[in-house]
């Protein structure tokens, strides 16, 4: 998604992700790209780590699988490309290639699925300094075009399983990993036995 969209949504100084109630930003994104429709999710968290540290970790896309629940692997290719393998329901996986569309050191990374990919998706992560001594404000924005057909149903199930909640949880895990070095868990039975 282009920087313009993010900026134009900021009539109220709130990030894009908070603007969707007043404006149908998802629709604008879809029209802009010639997509049938777009769904948009996003969230901002503050992480008690320097901007450069967070940017560097995210910029190495191999790291994303460590905190994104459904992402099995992201493998960087030549230059700006990456190959994504994502868990789908019923033990299946879906795969697509993406390319980095914007990259500003210590500030933002944007990527988008390549033309012809089974999945049309774009993501953007921004890093801004918080107030002095308060770490980094991180905003993640993901848009995708829900496809048709059988694959579409699969993808819809994957993405639309409360996508806002999913985005929020993944940012929380990113924050946990960056601040504490681990992802908090109480999964049964090992982490939390139950009767």
């Amino acid at each position: 998604m282009s920087k313009d969209h993010v900026e134009s949504a900021r009539e109220s100084d709130a990030p894009l992700t908070a603007a969707v109630h007043q404006r149908d930003v998802a629709k604008e994104v879809a029209e802009d790209r010639g997509w049938g429709e777009a769904a948009l999710v996003g969230r901002t968290v503050t992480i008690n780590r320097p901007r450069a540290h967070l940017y560097a970790f995210w910029r190495d896309f191999r790291n994303l699988a460590a905190f994104m629940e459904n992402v099995e692997s992201v493998t960087p290719g030549d230059g700006q490309t990456s190959h994504w393998v994502v868990k789908a329901p019923a033990g299946q996986t879906v795969e697509w290639d993406a390319v980095i569309t914007e990259d500003v050191a210590d500030a933002l990374i944007a990527w988008e699925s390549v033309d012809g990919a089974d999945i049309k998706t774009a993501g953007r992560i921004e890093f801004r300094d918080g107030p002095p001594g308060r770490g980094t404000e991180v905003t993640a924005t993901i848009v995708y075009d829900p496809p048709g057909g059988d694959l579409g149903k699969l993808i819809a199930k994957l993405f639309q399983k409360e996508p806002k909640i999913q985005a929020r949880r993944e940012l929380r895990r990113f924050k946990q990993l960056m601040e504490t070095g681990e992802v908090s868990t109480s999964d049964a039975p090992d982490a939390a036995p139950r009767g």
Binding site: T46, N48, R134, G135, I165, R168, R169, E170, R172, R173, K175, Q176, E179, T180, G181, E182, V183, S184, T185, S186, D187, P189, D190, A191, A192, P193, R194, G195
Partner: protein, 396 residues
Amino acid sequence: MRALTWHGKHDVRMDTVPDPQIVNPRDAIIKITSTAICGSDLHLYDSYIPSMHRGDILGHEFMGEVVEIGPKSTLQKGQRVVVPFVIACGQCFFCGKQQFSACDNSNPAEKADLGEVAYGYAMSGLFGYSHMTGGYAGGQAEYVRVPYSDVGPIVIPDGLEDDKVLFLSDILPTGWMAAENCDIEPGDTVAVWGCGPVGLFAIQSALLMGAHRVIAIDHYPGRLALAKSMGAEIINYHDVKVREALMEMTGGIGPDACIDAVGMESHGFTIDNVIDAVKTTTKLGTDRAHVLREVLMACRKGGRVSIPGVYGGVGDKIPIGALMQKGLQVKTGQTHVQKYLRPLLEMIGEGKIDTTFLISHRLPLEQAPEGYKMFKEQQNEVTKVVLKPDWGKEAA
């Protein structure tokens, strides 16, 4: 291992469950030697707390021996430790400010949604206290997994037996913070509603902090007698009207600071409480806020209100006019246990604080269900139940 598990209202059972494992680098596994039933466990027992699942292991007051450590734990096998009921990462903004119960990271991401809906923001993880606070297994068991074990547990020197230090896990720091939140000044009168364990420790703490007088309010003669033995004056609310009594006892001024050590399950047969009880039972409301109402009305102008008592939902008919017009200051929150462990352990070691008077019953862990029943039904006689996983094993 054997563990006390929750199955529904007034239904807790001893079950055999898998042993906990080291999952994260900073984890440790503790073999429990002593664990207590907390008054707030009764909120779970009475089914007042949402997001409990059948089979959840309860218990957030516990101590024991370190038997396994992850590669990033700073504990050593064989150490005796008391574990705070609040789980805190030590590295987020809130932990940095020693607001450990506001830790941003200890509540697993998939458990944090409910807290955001209910309170606007997710709270820290707690041991054995519903899935809203993390879904962590509690310590009323033979073993427990302790996440972030390099931050929470405090090592206990040899020679201090379990009963002297166990309450560092929750109720002693909770009583201490309740008194600290009163910002006590010389000459102050502090009124404490509720002479359960937290109320009693708040009385003890307020006197140690230099309160001129402490007035304790309850209706159980046994608990009032304990409060009196600690140096408090007492009010039995069955005999007198609380606010009038407090006014008369303070020369018409009112208490300088008031502590609500009761929370959402207050007793009493005032009309507001009966209505609250009906609404709670019929799911039309949640919290019975009778004590908080009385506190706000009784506190002197410009006074301080401290609320360690647990509330979970929304309160009805809170006298917000009294709060504003009198210019009251309110401090509350789950206890930042980690902040108080060292100073309180020192005071226990020096004999300035003794908490053993509170323990009325010691039982084998296997009898935990009976322990819950008697703690619930005989509050006059049963002030604190401590469970010992090892007891009864020698005989078997």
